[in-house]
């Protein structure tokens, strides 16, 4: 009996180059290690710097990559001598409230555009996507007049109201992908059973889109936690600044950089979003899938 010759090898037989450990190492582990080192080094340097004493900071005679005598001086200084606690509080408030507002708007809009049929829906959907062409860089100068008319300078509401302009388009677009992925029949069954459209949306579509809503919330929260331009322009009083603005404006005096303090603040300002992501990284990927693949 003629044995059919296989043109391909089973994994692990070693005939395909790179399925043994050495092959995998060259193909996967070494590149991955290089990427990890390059990616993480700035954060490592941030952390190392923040624990160094003032004299050790500028001592490159011994390897600067380790801390010889760790100290918490910079952190103490940050909390007692600067307004960092205020900045952290402001950032958290602004990010939370603008995320809630953006999610409220974009869940409704996403559902409306993905699910309801009416004239103009496609055009408006495109219109919301096109707002990407108008980034904050184009809007911040005219917005100063709008904020002034509303008497919102040095008021956190200035940020809470302007952040949704870049959050809503992104969230709406992402949620449209999620709503489109929910079978229509589920809602139609509810409608036939006498539920109103709003009940169908609230009881069926929204709960099923919850992973998407979570992903959108994650995006919105990070984007507003990171925002810099509007906060730089609308917030001039030290007590109402956000972390990014406070750090760049008040921990640098002219040409003098307080690196220890700066890096301590940078690390503390990064921790909340980093923790959030380490828990929800899978939702993040799922969110990208819905938006990018179906959008």
């Amino acid at each position: 009996m003629a044995v059919p010759t296989l043109k391909f090898a089973k994994p692990g037989t070693g005939r395909v180059i790179g399925d043994r450990f050495v092959g995998r190492a060259i193909r996967i582990y070494i590149p991955l290690l290089v990427l990890l080192i390059v990616t993480l080094f700035p954060f490592y340097w941030m952390a190392v710097t923040s624990f160094k004493s003032a004299s050790e900071l500028f001592d490159f005679s011994v390897s600067p990559l380790w801390v010889r005598e760790p100290t918490l001086d910079w952190y103490k200084h940050l909390f007692t001598q600067t307004n960092f606690p205020h900045w952290a509080f402001n950032t958290a408030v602004v990010a939370t409230v603008s995320t809630i507002i953006s999610l409220f708007c974009s869940v409704l809009a996403g559902y409306s555009l993905a699910r309801l049929r009416y004239r103009g829906a496609d055009t408006i959907g495109w219109g919301i996507f096109v707002t990407y062409l108008v980034p904050p860089t184009l809007l911040f100068l005219p917005l100063t007049f709008v904020i002034r008319e509303l008497h919102l300078f040095n008021n956190l509401w200035a940020l809470i109201l302007t952040y949704p302009t870049f959050l809503i388009p992104f969230c709406t677009w992402m949620l449209m992908g999620f709503f489109k992925g929910i079978p229509r029949e589920l809602e139609e069954a509810a409608l036939v059973d006498g539920a109103t459209r709003i009940q169908a949306m609230v009881r069926i579509a929204i709960p099923l889109a919850l992973p998407g809503i979570l992903a959108a919330a994650l995006f919105a929260f990070t984007l507003s936690w990171n925002e810099f331009l509007y906060a730089l322009i609308f917030m001039n009083d030290s007590l109402v600044k956000t972390i990014p603005v406070g750090v760049t404006q008040e921990l640098i005096h002219g040409d003098e950089f307080f690196w220890g303090e700066l890096m301590a603040a940078a690390l503390l300002g990064s921790v909340p979003v980093a923790v959030l992501y380490s828990f929800f990284v899978d939702y993040f990927v799922a969110g990208m899938t819905a938006g990018a693949v179906k959008g």
């Binding site: 700035p42 409704l108 809007l139 100068l141 005219p142 709008v146 409608l191 693949v293």
Partner: protein, 310 residues
């Protein structure tokens, strides 16, 4: 009579559904209302208002008089070529970083799509630059590029990749531009990677199995299955990323702020410098508005490059 019988022939539930669809328009608009109000007041109105500002001599906090195209003329003729530098830099910055982010992002996604130990940790770690507040990570890079105490240079010198004292990263025009690009690539690559990864995970496995049965190599699987299947993701990612890079403000503002001698000037930074510290809002608006037609050209270019193959 005839119509009545025909209606009767249609099942009750179907008639009911037709009626429901007729009534969807009011609810549709109602649900859109909050979004349209917010975007109208804080996006559409400022955009149109900005166009008007750019043809006036407005200053910070004071509306000015109509001066026609005076701001645009000033920006083109009276700024010692800074305008051209800014436009060229903006294109160069976007172009170079996009090519690298695309390539590295693809590599990163392919690696993350493998079965590897500590997969969740590695994924989260590689995403970090994209998630951490830009301004904060850029401050760390600025410290790494410090003129006298640069850890990057310390590493380069100690691994014998550069002669002591190593390059002056932020003080020399070409180096400063390279530094801006390096950090932008460092920050932007994870976005490409995560999007590609998301796209790769929905490619049906049978395609690869069929290809393997036919004896396709790994490289052939990549070029004939993975890349074509990633086209829709690629389109969206390229669009978003080029727009955001083109209008990037915070990173370059923290790292170089246009220095040394306007050599790393970008349109976004230059608009800010004239508009806020300089107080010439009208001129600032005119500079930032130059971004809009250029951005439209770039977007049209991306759409053209990635158009559906006929």
């Amino acid at each position: 009579m005839g119509t009545a019988t025909r209606t009767d022939a249609v099942p009750v539930w179907r008639r009911r559904r037709a009626r429901i669809y007729d009534r969807e328009a009011p609810l549709g608009y109602l649900l859109l209302a909050p979004t349209l109000v917010v975007l109208g007041i804080f996006l559409l109105y400022p955009f149109l208002f900005g166009i008007w500002l750019s043809i006036t001599d407005s200053e910070l906090g004071k509306l000015g008089e109509f001066i026609g195209l005076g701001n645009y003329r000033f920006e083109w003729r009276n700024t010692d070529g800074v305008f051209y530098t800014a436009v060229v830099n903006t294109f160069l910055y976007t172009g170079v970083t996009t090519v690298f982010k695309l390539g590295l992002g693809l590599v990163m996604a392919l690696l993350l799509n493998q079965v590897i130990p500590f997969r969740r940790f590695v994924r989260a770690a590689l995403l970090l630059p994209y998630i951490i507040p830009t301004v904060l990570s850029y401050e760390a890079w600025r410290w790494m590029f410090d003129p006298t105490f640069s850890v990057v240079n310390w590493l380069l010198v100690h691994t014998h990749l550069a002669a002591y004292p190593g390059p002056n990263w932020l003080g020399v025009p070409a180096n400063a531009m390279a530094a801006l690009m390096i950090v932008n690539i460092w920050r932007g690559t994870p976005f490409y990677a995560i999007s590609f990864l998301a796209g790769m995970q929905v490619i049906p496995v049978d395609l690869y199995e069929a290809a393997r049965v036919d004896g396709a190599t790994r490289w052939q699987q990549l070029t004939n299955i993975t890349l074509p299947m990633l086209r829709p993701v690629l389109l969206v990612v390229l669009l978003l990323s080029t727009i955001l890079t083109f209008a990037d403000f915070q990173g370059p503002f923290v790292l170089t702020n246009g220095a040394p001698y306007n050599s790393t000037q970008l349109l976004s930074i230059w608009a800010y410098q004239w508009g806020i510290p300089g107080g010439a809002i009208g001129l600032g608006a005119a500079i930032s508005l130059v971004l809009f037609p250029l951005l439209t050209i770039v977007v049209a270019g991306v759409l053209f490059l990635l158009r559906r193959p006929e």
